[in-house]
Symmetry: C2
Subunit: 219 residues, 2 copies
């Protein structure tokens, strides 16, 4: 035979190539409409091979979710690490988040928008990914509380609460970003820091907001 045998690509690399394509296809078509045929075709690999490596359409989706969540968490950690002070770490982390989202639009769609009405396996994976992000942020808040020598009585539970509010704010701001493509991720990060950090700084300093006193209800 004259035909040269195709060079054997290691499984690990093949899998990453399949996942690259799958993220794009799931993001574009949605989970239900996405077809493994199209993914195999675009990845230049046979459909049985896709099943051999990633088991099923669901397995493929879970692999996409895991890899993209890991990338996001890694980007966040890498940016925050080595910064001095809780505000600089949060700023760097948020910047990495908005940078990731604007560069990897497809990943964000896979991670975020597609998951609620799918299988329990997938819902479980999404919950895990979300928890991983939340733990990163809560850890950062905890450290901030510890470092600040805050006069306010703040605990682990507070860090988790603040992490939820922060991540939720950042998440919804990505929708705003989508409708303001002229705003660079850096600008968005700084806007959000100004909204969030100024508040947290003051809360750490013991400043409190109290609700207005309600008039007595009529007897």
């Amino acid at each position: 035979m004259k035909e040269q045998r195709k060079r054997r690509v290691p499984r690990r690399i093949r899998e990453q190539q399949i996942i690259d394509v799958a993220v794009t296809v799931f993001s574009k078509r949605g989970y239900h409409a996405a077809s493994v045929d199209e993914i195999a075709d675009l990845a230049g690999i046979s459909k049985p091979m896709v099943y051999l490596y990633l088991d099923s359409k669901e397995g493929l989706f879970v692999a996409c979710l895991r890899r993209e969540a890991e990338r996001l968490v890694t980007a966040f950690q890498a940016a925050a690490r080595g910064q001095q002070g809780p505000d600089a770490r949060l700023y760097a982390g948020l910047g990495a988040f908005f940078g990731f989202v604007s560069e990897h639009r497809d990943s964000w769609v896979v991670l975020h928008r597609q998951a609620s009405e799918l299988s329990e396996t997938i819902a479980g994976e999404v919950a895990l990914a979300r928890r991983a992000v939340m733990e990163q942020v809560a850890g950062l808040i905890s450290d901030g509380i510890a470092e600040s020598g805050s006069t306010a009585d703040l605990r682990e539970e507070d860090a988790d609460f603040v992490a939820h509010a922060l991540v939720g704010a950042a998440d919804y701001v990505t929708d705003w970003m989508e409708r303001h493509p002229d705003q660079a991720p850096d600008t968005v990060t700084l806007r959000l820091m100004n909204m969030l950090w100024v508040g947290m700084r003051n809360v750490l300093n013991g400043e409190a907001w109290l609700p207005p006193v309600a008039p007595d209800p009529p007897q």
Copy 2:
């Protein structure tokens, strides 16, 4: 015939009864697994009647979404209206939101978690509902900016940005609430106000957070 004829229930009321049941069923089973048979059965009405009134399973889901979104927006408006000052309005609005979510758990699930991987019609409805909530909050922020006679240069676009961050924070905090059932909606509202408002107050007063100056990159 001896049998007494069933009293005729006006269509408007019947529809509301069907929607009540449908919200519960969609919330419990998810959109795909929910069956119109079960909804008809629980509502004590025939299946053809459900189709006559609400057209299809999709029409039923859209009716649920619309009604629950309207309820949420109405609760928010009613609470905020008549309060003095932007902070009191936001506090009242957030309180109504967390109150609604904790009282109407099913509605929240329908409004919120089920919508991403469904039909375009449903996705469009969800986007509309979300936009309605966002506009309420952005309006409240705009008024706050106008009333404060703020020294900061803030515009409509800023109000929309802040609204996204606020609504996102409130949304994710509902997940936190679910894992802290001992925390009353009032407490949660006050915690979030303290995190958010103290920051906004200072930003309105012209206080700014600036990122740390980065060292020059090596030449």
